[in-house]
Amino acid sequence: MEHNAYIPRLAKIIQIKEEVSGARPIKTFRTQFLNKNDFAFHCGQCTMLSVFGKGESMISISSPPLIKDYLQFSILKMGRVTSALHEMEVGDKIGIRGPYGNGFPIEDWKGKNLIFIGGGIGLAPIWSVLQTALGKKQEYGELKLIYGARTSKDLVFKEELKELKKKMIVHLSIDVEEPEWEEFIGFVPQNVTDKKPSPKNAITITCGPPIMIKFVIQALKDLEFEDAQIYTTVENKMKCGIGKCGRCNIGMHYVCKDGPVYSWAELKKLPQEY
């Protein structure tokens, strides 16, 4: 009998890092499977995380596939399961099933300039593909990150971003002015317009709140990016993760299986219901 897709594998939380505190807290969790680790995934894929007694939640993997000894998830406290995860401690056990979804087609992007555009927790799914490209820097063109959050405190991976600046171009932004903030002030789409990335031989990867994605796409179109150069991820409520429970669909597509990664060329052809 084939493996039962609904049964999660047990994993232990080995590290918890508080990224953002306050009303919209974000924590980054590193987990290790209790048993033999043959878990393989592509950048941009998701997993269904279980907190037993609370339920399951679909979360993107923020560590790159080349890291084999742990899986990393950055999680905004929002619903029942993510709130329970925020209460957990190192050593606690969760369930993981997956990976699910299509992932980013990074093999097709070799030789191209990659522009990552993220807002808030949207840096988490980008982080996996960004780190993967950075690890094989010679195979890609210029790498650039445009990332913003509401306030400087709401930025995730604060320390990692400092390190990242030594390796690639990073443009940060916050929505409203703060003393000592030296970078862009305004929304992420405005920062995109301000930095004017060139569409020449480029691919953009954008993740963030739906409203941000909408305006980022508009900003990129104004900069004459083609639809097929713009990639984004869609999130929807999910239960099964395998295209059966019926709720994450956009038209005939199930985001859990056929997404979450879409080029704008693909996504704009689907019913605009997400």
Binding site: G53, T82, G95, N236, K237, I242, C245, G246, I250
Partner: protein, 346 residues
């Protein structure tokens, strides 16, 4: 294999099938519903259509998929709970309900096979009964590529010829059931064959309701995604969800954890039918909802059945049983909706 079974021999046949679990329509107060038959004498094939289709036997409304617990030394344990595997026969399946099963096979098969579904499905034998008269005034199977004597999805189709049944076995599983009581069956003669043909033809004429021209519907629906039509049609919807709960083809489900004890932790993960007509079906934990109004939810139900399913699996996800029409408390009628779609804007 084509056979004749005298009605007086029917009970004997059922008795020979004692190694199987047998389900059949049973009358409970005023309603017919599929139930487990403990005594073959209770088996009665004079039913109108059942309130719920036999879908619930293969894909139950609620099922446990796993159990979890922590032992005293706080070791977490997760146990897969698969359904028991005893073979079942479902008698009296209406052809529309039978046609719904291969549609569900597509959903629960594919890239990820669903073990809970297939454990039951593989062990279930479907014995259908032709509808000599439509069991509901809202039957419209002919409009969705079905018929009152469709064999699709069945292992055996029985047709009532008065004092006998014409029994057509359609699969090896069907042959098996007949072979368990070979001596009870006779060969059909020329008159039986003629009677069968006439009854089948007549039964088609008795289906009164129809969708005008279904072939144009999927393309038309695609054009009408943004149309105010959906606001108008959904105005009266109470979002009770009866349309999809009673539908033989609807497969959407929810998965939730139920706690028996919190310390030490003990509980189960349960799959239950869910419903696209409920607002929280698609509501994100942030509060964002891609289908936040009745219009988008009615549109989802209709488009899933008559556009998305066609695009994905090349079938309509509707077999024309008419339950959603008969039971809707505010009279939303899928045939009327589709006929309006057909003529919309022309």
């Amino acid at each position: 294999m084509k056979k004749i079974l005298r009605k007086k021999s029917f009970l004997q046949w059922v008795k020979r099938l004692e190694s199987y679990k047998i389900y059949a329509p049973m009358k409970d107060d005023d309603f017919w519903n599929f139930a487990l038959i403990n005594n073959p004498k209770d088996l009665n094939l004079n039913h109108s259509n059942t309130v719920l289709s036999p879908k619930k036997i293969i894909f139950p409304q609620r099922e446990v998929i796993l159990e979890f617990s922590t032992s005293n030394d706080s070791e977490l344990e997760v146990k897969e709970i698969l359904p028991e595997e005893k073979a079942s026969i479902i008698f009296g399946v209406r052809p529309c309900d039978a046609r719904a099963i291969p549609l569900m096979d597509k959903v629960f098969g594919g890239d990820f096979t669903d073990p809970y579904y297939w454990k039951r499905r593989d062990k279930t034998i479907l014995v259908g009964l032709s509808c000599n008269t439509p069991p509901s005034s809202n039957c419209f199977c002919l409009s969705v590529e079905g018929s009152p004597h469709s064999k699709e999805g069945l292992d055996i189709l029985m047709t009532d010829l008065g004092d006998k049944y014409y029994v057509e076995s359609l699969t090896k599983k069907g042959d098996q059931l007949i072979n368990l009581a070979k001596n009870l069956f006779e060969e059909p003669n020329a008159k039986d064959n003629k009677d069968l043909e006439n009854i089948h033809k007549d039964s088609e004429k008795k289906i009164k309701r129809q969708i005008q021209d279904i072939k144009n519907i999927p393309a038309k629906l695609k054009e009408m995604f943004e149309s105010p039509f959906w606001d108008e049609e959904s105005l009266s919807c109470l979002r009770c969800g009866i349309c999809t709960y009673l539908c033989p083809t609807c497969h959407c489900f929810d998965i939730n954890d139920e706690i028996i004890s919190s310390s030490p932790l003990k509980g189960k993960r349960v799959r239950t039918w869910d419903n696209c007509q409920f607002p929280d079906f698609t509501m994100h934990s942030s509060g964002h909802n891609p289908r936040s109004d009745r219009a988008s939810r009615l549109r989802q139900r209709i488009l899933h059945k008559f556009q998305y399913f066609i695009e994905q699996y090349q079938n309509y996800q509707c077999t024309g049983c008419g339950r959603c029409i008969s039971k809707c408390p505010v009279g939303i009628d899928i045939i009327e909706v589709l006929n309006k779609v057909e003529n919309y804007g022309t």
